[in-house]
Symmetry: C3
Subunit: 251 residues, 3 copies
């Protein structure tokens, strides 16, 4: 049994962090809140998402069997987001009907019933790879997003790197080159290191939309290594990690 009530804008912030990477996925509901881990169709990007129970105004969950400690449901987050965009600023009531495989959503006079997706039709929940990141940068989200918007005008890939006390992002086009360099003083935090990797701008641009409600983000980097971006939304009650595979630099 699952029934809950949550501020519509809080839920929207959360769903937007998910749809930046995947349209659908397996949401795990348990006594302590929501959890999700999903990879994009091309296996390039991954999201780990957790929403604490206390982000909800009301939250009731109980399993039907003693064995299960959580319910796993197949959600179409794209559809949910579409409806949340209409509902305005009202509270959202959620109610799960596991037998009928439906989730009932109510915002004021608007009742929206979404059929759940068959979890067996969805990609398997990915394992989180064991990664060690030598370099960490904490940056204001808007500063990062502005650089990504500029880079999108130039090329298809972007280098993210740390060179000593500087964090930099570099994109090359046919005729031109963009470099954003930020010293330790211009960042919230930086571990001095020498690392850099190349990533797809298309993926980073999608992720940068998903993080728009976070004030700061943490970039975890290595040498030709995946990029992990950590941030919080929903007043710190939702924790999100994006993981992005590097591209091979042609040299």
């Amino acid at each position: 049994m699952f029934e809950a009530k949550i501020d519509a804008s809080v839920l929207r912030e959360c769903v937007e962090t998910i749809t930046a990477v995947v349209d659908e996925g397996k949401l795990r509901i348990a006594e302590d809140g929501f959890k999700l881990r999903a990879v994009d169709p091309a296996n390039v990007a991954m999201i780990s998402f957790e929403l604490q129970r206390d982000a909800f105004d009301e939250f009731q969950y109980s399993t039907e069997s003693e064995e299960d400690k959580e319910s796993e449901i197949g959600m179409d987050f794209g559809k949910l987001l579409g409806i949340l965009g209409i509902g305005g600023k009202e509270d959202v009531e959620l109610k799960l009907d596991e037998h009928a495989q439906k989730i009932y959503t109510r915002m004021g006079s608007l009742a929206y019933t979404l059929s759940l997706l068959d979890p067996s039709s969805l990609r398997k929940e990915p394992k989180v790879p064991e990664l060690e990141f030598p370099a960490h940068v904490i940056i204001e989200t808007e500063e990062f997003r502005r650089a990504i918007r500029a880079a999108e005008k130039i090329g298809d890939n972007i280098v993210l790197g740390v060179a000593g006390d500087e964090f930099y992002m570099e994109t090359e086009g046919e005729m031109d080159k963009l470099r954003v360099g930020l010293s330790k003083e211009q960042l919230i935090h930086l571990t001095p290191e020498t690392v850099s990797s190349l990533y797809s701008l298309e993926y980073i641009a999608a992720m940068s939309k998903g993080m728009s409600h976070a004030e700061n983000i943490t970039l975890n980097m290595g040498k030709n290594y995946p990029l992990q971006i950590d941030f919080e939304v929903a007043e710190g009650k939702a924790k999100v990690s994006y993981l992005l595979a590097p591209r091979i630099e042609s040299e």
Copy 2:
């Protein structure tokens, strides 16, 4: 002879109610104002429109022959709307030249001459069918429009109905279902009844744009019956009725 002067935004509100259903039609000009009745090309939707003489700042009309009590002109409302959108907030002066089959429009320094359409090339003015509606609902326009915008994200058709003391709108998609239910208390008026019909969302969505300047609308409904939507714009001086044929519910 017809010459008139009217506030540009008032005329724009009126023309927008018409272009929501038809791009062109036969406008009847008489001593008491404008009248129009037209069906859309697919014969699914109809508009009846009346604009009172006192919506104009100046209004002069006289027939040339004793027999005629009105002039019928073929108007391209889409073109007129395009120009009104540019003209700003100035007054619009209108002058009809029946011999040259032109209408002269002046907004400040901008003079726009529109050739009239040959009325014989236009669809015949429809007869207003005799209808009796068992159920009537008066609702705030914005509440109705918000529901329609949400429904457009889900499906192609919408059920409008009254069930006892509740007015509801229901749309089904492949995987999901949206229901907006409003009790008598949430409406301005409701006749308790049990009726419902299915309509094309595409048509209702177009109509809902046409009614955006009205504060309230009246929905007149029956069982698998046409929908008539009545409202006023131009500070109550323009009366508009949309009529929409029902769709056959596949069961």
Copy 3:
């Protein structure tokens, strides 16, 4: 050697006047500022542009050889404009590397390197034809732009003319006709004359975007003659002239 610093919005205003006519061109840098003269690919429109040295906050220029008094560089103004749109309101630092054929642009933490175009690959700088204009009109830019926006809804060409004490713009569509007539009193200046010419609306509409930061424009006209539009941006420190060939009126 060229190094300079300029307000980003001032530079953007200037580049927008250029991209209204051409995407790329030969920019001449000298001790007294920037100069450019370029024709569009179809040889229908021409821009002459001058930006005074004192529009810059800092400006350093020196030639390498005694013979040259200026440097001519091939610029992709479209690309430059794209990056200026991102950079915000900060100052822009410019630095030319003639040997590497690159221009370095810095806005805060964002460094943008643009490869110069090979001047020999660009169209030759046009000669400014000797023209004498019998009629001159000075008009508020917004008044002119509004008329052009209205005309674009009607047709493909526009007549600009002076008839005695009136300046007029006229466009004909298939069914309709738009005329904007402005008396001497409604203009800032008018030379009474009898002239008119037909021009392509597509070109004038592009030019009207380029002049959006100017308060007034001067229209120089003749009988079936080119149109020259003069205006200033960058607080009077940039002088721009557009020249547009007339179309032949089909009669």
